[in-house]
């Protein structure tokens, strides 16, 4: 792997262990989690712990005529009952807008609804009880009278203004964006071929193993709030609890514990969680809320739900001239705080046409309010939509011209020697991508020609197989351009503190969090490599605002690229400080020393000179033996923010092989391939599994997952039996390979890898299905592609 050459951790020419970068070492926390010895929020036991349950609106849109909590308050074990007004006394409302999303608007949202509920599942009262079960028993005694209001569930009706959900806002448009490149019309007029198609993407959600959970513990004695919260962004939440509850930031501590998956679901401010924190302040005692599975479906953010029309213009030789996009997406009744619900649509505008070298682009995008659950950023935000519609229309164009889809892509992908590339028409900039290397590698890996031959042979036997390709780009390592410039107090910078312990152990504290994805493991690898210790000497602490440096946390595929670089820089600095101590102890020249395998060694001869345990002993306990005025510094902190590019884009390409049963509309996934370029691969096993997990979630979007709402705004399938998450029985083998183009912005060279699978898989699977259906004259343009939708496309039902 060329990554190691990019990472000169040791002096050139010396024969030393190059470290753990690029090695598939098992992560330290896996054994603990698999033995059931993880510690999640629901595992915490506190004296005087109260449990809060929420009385939620049964209607999608209704005025609260009467809300009588008196009977509920008298039930066994009930400590207190609160309505929205009571909680609002302690927690200010929020409006989720960002300065750089021009014109975005939303209405004030309270922790608990006041006067009116705007989606089915919105909390309208809180019951606090000695146990969760007692709280749930008391829910049945809440007396509520409702005046049902018209529920706006269709995004076109919302855009047309059939009703206005928040009359103060004037209309239902949360955010809109239009974009047209110079000379678009003239260039478009010269096109030989224009293809156009409309796509629908269902609303879905990220189903985490562990539900949302928060335990807020307000201490009136010192006006402090400790929040145990399975969030992805503890420092962001520290700021938000502080500002909305009126507690100085220094008095708020957010601790994450183990987190059972997040996928973006746990990076947002949830009204019921803010209410839980406020109630802890109100009652001056610890209060816990854990969303159960039914609540998760009703209130964890949903995502996607787009209706898009896209046109592609090209020459008859097959060169893409441009794209023309019209996207409409619906987000529920409020923009989600503080990241807003305008980002996904904005990403679709930014990323459409992403892998290609066209020069012209026109885009129109509307984000509208509806009376369904809120939507916001979920794994791969906007990418699955942008990549799927781009790749589907690219296949249409290839078919129109009569070019093989792989060949058409080869013709149009941005050349590998065109970087840095600033001509992309939506304005995004690429440092260095490897589309053609990835394409070549993919076609070889899947034996594309052979598969096409097999497909043709099987078609003659009435077996309908399809091969679908989807090239992709992915936003990773975001700079402050993502949120900070818009006024959100969300850190794009992360920090790491490394401390050599007296025994020669290494403690790493990083502001990026561990959600089960293995961040702790790669930080240990980087730290061990940078310092020169073996992996067993490293302990990693994340997810505690009281302990780690300040930083952004986990989102937008930033953990390895940003947090990892902070760890690397801190490690290099600590190693240098350790060598200073060693030189002082040994009365040697620092330049002659190195640290390898927990020992200070002679750089040339590798002869061991001093163990790190001995170094630590002397530095901490016998500094009197060191030269006068020498002070060891064995704790080091470094920070890193990407500055050169707004985002460090990655790229890749996926392929899907499916077999469609034209009688039943069932799709069998036979195999899936992904070649991607996340720069330096720190742990191949972890990256591969991130890709595989991401592909599976993308397959979920393409074939299975959809939040189904009735016309009255009732969620129809909010449970694990009826909401179809992809499961192992249907998943194909997923072959993963890499091209490594390290980013030059950091010494580590790592880009993000967590979202690539989800970004590309929906397009690859949709294209594969349509390739299989092509001889039958059918196309499916709605995701998920259910058997019924495929049968409809075939005209069989």
């Amino acid at each position: 792997m060329n990554a190691r050459a990019e990472l000169p951790l040791h002096a050139p020419g010396t024969q030393v262990d190059k470290g753990y970068i690029g090695q598939s070492v098992p992560r330290e926390n896996a054994k603990r989690l698999l033995q059931g010895r993880g510690s999640y929020i629901d595992d915490l036991r506190f004296p005087r712990l109260a449990h809060v349950v929420f009385f939620r609106s049964p209607h999608a849109h209704a005025r609260i005529r009467k809300l009588d909590l008196a009977q509920a308050a008298r039930q066994p074990g009930v400590i207190a009952c609160f309505d929205g007004r009571a909680v609002a006394e302690y927690c200010t409302p929020w409006i989720a807008v960002l300065g750089h999303l021009k014109g975005i608007k939303s209405a004030p949202q309270h922790p608990i609804a006041i006067e009116r509920a705007c989606w089915q599942g919105e909390a309208v009262a809180a019951i606090v009880a000695e146990s969760r079960a007692q709280g749930e028993d008391a829910l049945a005694h809440v007396e509520a009278e409702w005046e049902e209001l018209p529920a706006l569930t269709d995004m076109r009706e919302s855009l047309a203004g059939k009703y206005v959900i928040h009359p103060d806002l004037g209309d239902n448009v949360c955010f809109k964006r239009e974009l047209v490149t110079e000379g678009f019309d003239a260039a478009w007029a010269k096109a030989d071929i224009v293809v156009e198609e409309s796509y629908k993407f269902g609303r879905h959600t990220g189903v985490t193993l562990e539900g949302r959970a928060i335990l807020a513990d307000y201490n009136a004695a010192d006006h402090s709030l400790t929040v145990y919260h399975n969030t992805q962004a503890p420092h962001m939440m520290q700021d938000i609890f502080s500002r909305h509850l009126g507690i100085p930031e220094g008095n708020v501590r957010v601790v994450c514990k183990d987190v059972g998956g997040s996928f973006g679901i746990k990076v947002h401010v949830y009204a019921d969680e803010m209410a839980t924190a406020a109630i802890s302040v109100m009652l001056r005692r610890p209060v816990k809320f854990v969303a159960d599975r039914l609540e998760s479906f009703l209130t964890d953010i949903h995502a996607r739900e787009h209706e898009v029309t896209v046109r592609l213009a090209c020459t008859k030789g097959g060169d893409i001239i441009g794209f023309d996009l019209d996207d409409l997406t619906a987000i529920g009744p409020y923009s989600v705080y503080p990241r807003t619900s305008g980002i996904e649509g904005n990403q679709v505008v930014n990323l459409t046409g992403g892998p290609y070298r066209h020069k012209h682009y026109r885009a129109k995008m509307h984000v509208v309010f509806t009376n369904k659950n809120l939507t916001c950023q979920y794994r791969a935000v906007g990418h699955p939509i942008a990549m799927a519609l781009t790749e589907a229309i690219v296949d249409r164009a290839a078919a129109e011209i009569g070019l093989d889809p792989a060949e058409f892509r080869r013709r149009n992908l941005i050349p590998d020697d065109a970087y840095p590339y600033s001509e992309f028409p939506s304005g995004i900039k690429f440092e260095r991508l490897s589309h053609h290397q990835c394409l070549d590698k993919l076609l070889a890996l899947m034996d594309y020609k052979e598969l096409r031959a097999e497909q043709a042979a099987l078609r003659k036997q009435g077996i309908h197989r399809g091969i679908g390709l989807a090239a992709m780009i992915e936003v990773t390592n975001p700079s402050p351009a993502f949120y900070g410039v818009g006024g959100a107090r969300i850190s794009a910078q992360d920090g790491a503190t490394l401390r050599l312990e007296p025994t020669g152990m290494l403690t790493v504290m990083c502001s990026v969090t561990e959600q089960g994805q293995g961040t702790d493991g790669i930080f240990a690898q980087i730290a061990a490599s940078a310092v020169g210790v073996t992996l067993d000497k490293v302990r990693v602490i994340t997810g505690d605002t009281g302990v780690t440096p300040y930083g952004g946390g986990t989102w937008a595929s930033r953990g390895a690229g940003i947090g990892g670089e902070a760890v690397l820089q801190a490690g290099r600095a600590l190693r240098s400080n350790m060598l200073d101590v060693a030189a002082a102890i040994l009365s040697a020249d620092k330049a002659e020393l190195d640290i390898v395998g927990n020992e200070v060694v002679n750089k040339l001869t590798q002869e061991p000179k001093l163990s790190l345990a001995e170094l630590g002993r002397i530095a901490y306990f016998r500094p009197d033996t060191l030269p006068p005025k020498f002070q060891s510094e064995l704790t080091v902190t470094r920070h890193y923010t990407p500055r050169d590019y707004a985002f460090t884009f990655t790229n890749g390409i996926q392929a899907s092989l499916v077999e469609v049963d034209p009688d039943t509309g069932f799709v069998k996934l036979l195999k899936h391939w992904c070649v991607e370029d996340c720069g330096t691969v720190i742990n191949p096993m972890l990256v591969d599994e991130q890709i595989r997990g991401g592909v599976v979630q993308g397959i979920g979007a393409a074939l299975f997952e959809e939040c189904l709402y009735g016309p009255d705004g009732q969620l129809l399938n909010g449970n694990m039996a009826d909401y179809l998450v992809p499961m192992c029985g249907e998943m194909p083998d997923i072959v993963v390979a890499h091209v490594e183009t390290p980013t030059k912005q950091s010494a580590l060279g790592a880009k993000g890898a967590g979202e690539a699978g989800t970004a590309g898989a929906p397009g690859a699977v949709m294209n594969a299905i349509n390739d299989a259906l092509a001889p039958l004259g059918a196309r499916v343009t709605v995701q998920p592609a259910t058997p019924e939708r495929i049968l409809e496309a075939l005209g069989k039902v």
Binding site: E136, A721, E730, T786, P787, E788, V797
Partner: protein
């Protein structure tokens, strides 16, 4: 997702169980494997005052094969049916169907009798029992009575069980040596409730024009309020060679089935898929 509080009783004999059921009447629910009941309690869709756990009653589990019929105790788990060599040899329809029931963890706990008493129209065992013309043994303080599966299922989650009565066993006649069985279903994911399924049985004998199907039986799941025995389609297929039988049964199926839409599939698509499965099952029987 916490169940409302309930009392729990675990009788050690049928007599004790009958006492409890009599005493608590409609406030009591019978708990066997609990794979449906516990979920409804946790979702607060049901709030019985007492759960009568019958799994401690001896003699209600097990498979006993006689010459012409097989007796399956009500508490026999799905997994035990799936793994039984006797079932595999005598009632291959059940062996084929068993692996479609939910997931292994559920099959390890859920019971044969519980599934029948629950009478979920999308469940596998009720359709199989209807196709095989099984007889349910029902016991109460008044004694035992026997009811044909074909009359046991009355409506959506509605059976012939009377208050105080328990399913104790099912007796299934063993089809003849020439009979073939085919169980097929279409589910979005392995273990999901099927969109539609069919339990098919027929004798595949040498007819005048090749292999003809006789004693054709087709029972469907997921396409009606109960398991649906498709008598018109069966009659249409009777005595015909496989290809003709399939076409005839498919054409007649409209008269047997009036499916209603589920969350993911329209009534029309269900009907279409039922026809497709009919063709495939009959082809499998003749293969």
């Amino acid at each position: 997702m916490k169940p409302p509080s309930f009392a729990y009783a675990r009788p050690g004999s049928l007599a004790e169980a009958f006492d409890l059921l009599e005493r608590h009447g409609e406030d009591a629910k019978v708990l066997a494997g609990g794979q449906s009941l516990i979920a409804t309690l946790n979702m607060r869709l049901s709030s019985p005052a007492v759960l009568v756990d019958v799994t401690g009653i001896p003699g209600l589990a097990g498979i006993a094969a006689a010459k012409d019929k097989v007796r399956i105790g009500a508490l026999t788990t799905h997994r035990a049916v799936e793994r039984s060599a006797e079932i595999g040899a005598t009632l291959p329809l059940l062996a084929q169907a068993a692996r479609h029931i939910a997931h292994v963890a559920i099959r390890n706990v859920g019971t044969f009798g519980g599934s029948l008493a629950m009478a979920d129209p999308a469940a596998e065992w009720p359709a199989c029992c209807v196709a095989l013309d099984a007889e349910l043994v029902l016991a109460s303080r008044a004694g035992e009575r026997r009811v044909k599966a074909r009359t046991f299922f009355r409506g959506l989650y509605e059976t012939d069980l009377k208050p105080g009565e328990l399913v104790t066993a099912v007796e299934i006649p063993v089809p003849g040596k020439d009979h073939r069985a085919s169980f097929m279903e279409l589910a979005r994911r392995v273990g999901d409730y099927a969109i539609v399924g069919v339990a098919a049985l027929a004798r595949a004998g040498a007819g005048k024009s090749g292999k003809a199907l006789t004693d054709v039986r087709l029972a469907y799941l997921g396409v009606g309020p109960t398991p649906m025995l498709a008598t018109q389609a069966m009659a249409a297929a009777e005595g015909k060679p496989a290809a003709d039988a399939a076409a005839a049964a498919q054409a007649a199926l409209d008269r047997d089935l009036k499916p209603t839409a589920d969350l993911h599939t329209s009534a029309a698509a269900k009907m279409h898929l039922a026809r497709v499965l009919t063709g495939r099952a009959l082809a499998a029987l003749a293969a």
